[in-house]
Symmetry: C2
Subunit: 218 residues, 2 copies
């Protein structure tokens, strides 16, 4: 398969494929001559994976490269898939070691987390600080119910990790972390619509303000 065929098969422009190769997202084709290379089906599959990471996954090209590098070279001992996965997904900027509110939350929940992985805790810290700055206060009980729901999810997810091979497990964890996130968020918004419709079953008076002739949910 040549690059133009690869491009046709995946509907990704040749120039973009070359860019991904240069960026380290996609391995080079097997060179058959000084100006000729051969691509395989694995390249096509890899391209679809790349697009999933960059699009729905919301990763930058640089981060996707780090994640893919991890997948290509899983730790042989592989005792810490999550550590490897979260590290590849993290931003690893300095100054992320302080997260007092996140630590307080975790202490109250009695969750044991990797003390070396500041990334996830820093994300929580930043999110909580953002809520504060926005003047939105979240009742502790609501935060607890969020935590409970996420813990329930995590139990199912971790139990579902395939333990056959480290590579398979790592792939499952990374993709499950990155690509499931948008699923969860979309489901939450849709669930809100459902619940809102059921609770506020008022068929309120609709003003015909916008040019939106479609019928509304009741």
């Amino acid at each position: 398969m040549r690059i133009s065929e690869l491009s046709a098969a995946t509907d990704i422009p040749v120039a973009t494929i070359k860019y991904y190769i240069r960026a380290g997202l996609l391995p080079e084709g097997r060179a058959t001559a000084p100006r000729q290379a051969e691509y395989s089906q694995t390249h096509a599959a890899r391209l679809l994976l790349i697009r999933a990471l960059l699009g729905p996954g919301g990763l930058s090209v640089a981060r996707a490269a780090a994640v893919l590098a991890q997948l290509d070279d899983p730790p042989s001992s592989a005792h810490d898939f999550l550590g490897a996965a979260h590290h590849a997904l993290g931003s690893a900027q300095p100054g992320q070691e302080n997260h007092p509110r996140a630590d307080a939350v975790l202490a109250e929940l009695a969750w044991e987390v990797d003390p070396a992985d500041h990334e996830a805790r820093f994300r929580l810290e930043r999110a909580l600080t953002g809520l504060d700055d926005a003047g939105f206060d979240m009742p502790p009980e609501l935060l607890r119910s969020y935590a409970a729901a996420m813990h329930g999810i995590a139990v199912r997810e971790v139990q579902g990790v395939p333990l056959d091979s480290p590579a398979e497990a790592l792939r499952y964890v990374v993709l499950g972390t990155v690509l499931v996130e948008p699923v969860l968020l979309a489901l939450r918004r849709l669930a809100q619509q459902d619940v809102s419709g059921r609770i506020f079953a008022w068929a309120g008076s609709v003003e015909p303000a916008e040019g939106d002739p479609g019928s509304r949910a009741s």
Copy 2:
């Protein structure tokens, strides 16, 4: 309060504040003279809100402007906070009306969603397609448990919406949607670490404490 003081109070550069004003995120100061304007505490609070939306919330400047415009001018009848909120948060690009897989999921769950709001369903569709393209197949039962968890969350959230005033309700819904998302995702990753540690006892052979502090979700 002058612009330099506002800048000092919020730790945001003067040039950036001016940019936000031009972009419609922040109202102009009250002009006291042709080259002089007065800013208030509400401007400072607004700036923190803006930074929360742009940072943790992950919104673009243009989308944040739309969201803030909604908050400033809530629909008076306001029977559909979610519709208004999700519309302000949506991207409203063409070609988002097809989402067969999302529709199938919703039908199986028997969720009633706003048929006019394609945004959330399109997000779900894109996320599911991304999983597919990446070669990650999610068992239907796992998807159902995700849905169940999100539904449980949504019930608590909708019940917590303050109904005193439309403005208050809309603010709650918008900020709850945007700013809580990173909290949920961070909690999920941390929960995964906790569960993983308990099940696999990875970082050394510590006794895996049994029990499940927090898994009260359905």
